[in-house]
Symmetry: C2
DNA sequence: AATTTAGTTCATAAAATTATGAACTAGCGA
DNA sequence: TCGCTAGTTCATAATTTTATGAACTAAATT
């Protein structure tokens, strides 16, 4: 029983590209490939076995990856009555949120920088001012980013 | 000859915090600690040996870390005549740029998503529309972010 | 010329991450 | 009750990443 989901070369290439992208954002390799596959496969919903077979990874690797992606809310699944399989699919809508969270993580450095500044013996050095400036910038981004998302949403309507 | 730069507990704590933050952004552990140290040390400029001794890492680890940080433009050094040592220091001003670059990397996913969409057999499915929407959002961010930075700069003056 | 200083390089070791496969579980249907 | 399906779990293996230490270089100093 050959697998009906075989990928074209183009699809394989895109799975890798998307995989690498996610790896670079800190995701485990297998999970990153699962993301890629869910993006490019001919079907929008894949079963556990689809994933295992098409990616050529072990069941445990698939299990790990899927649970990780569910936990981080990047994928989802449906079921159908009289069928025990789960059908996994991307939760694309959560991307915006995820992006915002990541940017937020970066800009959250500002509180840590503030602590650093307070722990420094006051030298009144030019370096301290530069750090102040950076903190101010991060604060600004933190404040403006949600507004930006709102503007995008408004424009959409 | 004991080292004159010994860190307080508070400073050590902050080095670790900053280190972990950078590690989470994909930086190698040793380099991440060097960043932390340069942030919290009593002096704003440290030598190779200061770093090696205070962090308790090997010379090669220090060498690696420093070269990495110089390459990625996160640190700098000065020299003084009649002194062969290099004095390493943070290049804080480049942070804004670095942050912008990272956000850009994330939003650069839009071109890849566009490729995915084009490779999909046109099903006209709702999923495709969601992906379109995401691409649109990423485009928007890419476009608006530089403006945001400009607004911050303007406000600063 | 010999030594010291300020590093670099590289083979190897240690540690951390990721994947495997075999054994297991729990529900369903016959 | 037996077997099958759809996974999970865990000890172990493979891979990757990171750090070490010893040997080296090249410039400055004595």
């Amino acid at each position: 029983m050959g697998n009906t989901l075989a990928l074209t070369e183009r699809q394989k290439e895109l799975v890798e590209k998307i995989g690498i992208f996610h790896e670079q954002s800190g995701m485990q390799p297998a999970a990153a490939r699962v993301m890629g596959l869910l993006f490019v496969a001919d079907k929008r919903e894949l079963t556990f076995d689809d994933i295992t077979e098409v990616l050529g990874i072990s069941k445990s690797a698939t299990s790990n990856a899927i649970n990780l992606l569910i936990q981080t809310d990047l994928i989802d699944y449906t079921t159908f009555s009289g069928d025990r399989k789960r059908y996994f699919r991307l939760k694309i809508t959560n991307w915006r949120e995820g992006l915002a969270r990541k940017i937020n993580h970066m800009t959250s450095m500002n509180t840590l920088f503030r602590e650093v500044l307070e722990a420094r013996k006051e030298t009144g050095a030019a370096e301290d001012e530069k750090l102040e400036e950076l903190i101010d910038f991060l604060n600004y981004v933190n404040q403006e980013l949600p507004k930006m998302v709102e503007r995008w949403e408004a424009r959409r309507r």
